[in-house]
Assembly symmetry: C2
DNA sequence: CGCACCATGTAATGCGTTACATGATTTT
DNA sequence: AAAATCATGTAACGCATTACATGGTGCG
């Protein structure tokens, strides 16, 4: 699936693996992330599969860079994936919730401590969505006026993230209220 | 991490791999799932690691079954994991959101179609949390009155799932409203 | 008669993470 | 002087999925 995230970014402009990683980190990382090494591996597979091509650009004073470009085949595969609708929910893996499921083994103060740690992480993430993420989307909109539709979609995914973190924070706060009386 | 889910279930009572799979499917599957084959593999590793032991029980007319029991070491590992707090958010992988991120490539009717498909899946899942899941937790509570603390935790995770699906449904409905005018 | 359920497992493959290796430039 | 950034990649490992293999019982 990472391949589609990569094709999606290359569809905007040719770029290097390193740059793809930066884009992911600044935009999709909270619903789709990847390590650099895996991006390089996936780019190689995409090239073998003729979905991208690459050229080596020499640079003075820095390592040469390999710039990847999406091919018509790659563009078609991306489109196909975008059009196909999923028939199943994305499987979730939520460690905190799994822990809470078995947390009757713990003392109430230990449960509270777990919840407190998670709460501060999720509050921080919520602030990120509300400020940095919102600002970075606004900035892209100002910089690339041709991408209004794209900006609209990015903003929609940001709102999803924001609402998700609001829900998480709210749920933890309720749990803490319930477990504070013991 | 699957190992902790398995240890968590074995901590209630000895059981087979097959039974663990059923328990997971009836309870944690929406925040932690696993394939049967992987459960068998993980049980073998746990046994090699002396966190569980197993005995083969012969059955007439059915395949023999291997019943796993948690050891003191397994119990300790489970506890350790329950006590350790996570310092990072669980990484999420949400395919629908990734698709929406790149969906400016699609026609508005295609976006609507994607959203509609997802909407019915999430509505169904929401109903599941509200009815089957709630009912099954109530039933366990009635059957095992000693597990009140556990039931309370299970119910908390169910509420999380319910709220998550409410958020998802709500977000998709808003998206549909936004994209219906085109 | 066929399907679902009970019950176990192996093998192949896919996908991702972590660690390792290299090395110049720019910023603190 | 140290750390971060730019830039690429390989190797080992971990974890999960899918496919394959087996075979009896019970139900509609």
């Amino acid at each position: 699936m990472l391949k589609f995230a990569i094709l999606g970014f290359l569809n905007y402009a040719p770029m290097t693996g390193y740059e793809i990683k930066q884009r992911i980190d600044r935009s999709t990382t909270h619903f789709w992330h990847a390590e650099l090494s895996q991006i390089y591996v996936t780019l190689k597979e995409l090239q073998k599969n003729e979905e991208v091509t690459s050229t080596l650009e020499e640079q003075s004073g820095r390592p040469d860079k390999r710039v990847y470009t999406i091919t018509p085949k790659g563009r078609q595969d991306l489109h196909q994936w975008l059009e196909d609708s999923q028939v199943e929910l994305s499987p979730k893996k939520e460690l905190l919730i799994l822990k809470i499921f078995f947390a009757a083994q713990l003392e109430p103060w230990q449960v509270r401590s777990q919840l407190q740690t998670a709460l501060s992480l999720h509050r921080k993430q919520l602030e990120y969505y509300r400020h940095e993420a919102a600002e970075s989307i606004r900035a892209s909109g100002a910089e690339f006026p041709l991408l209004t539709q794209d900006v609209r979609m990015w903003e929609a995914t940001r709102r999803f993230g924001e609402q998700y973190e609001e829900l998480y924070v709210h749920w933890i706060e309720e749990m803490l209220a319930e477990f504070s009386e013991e």
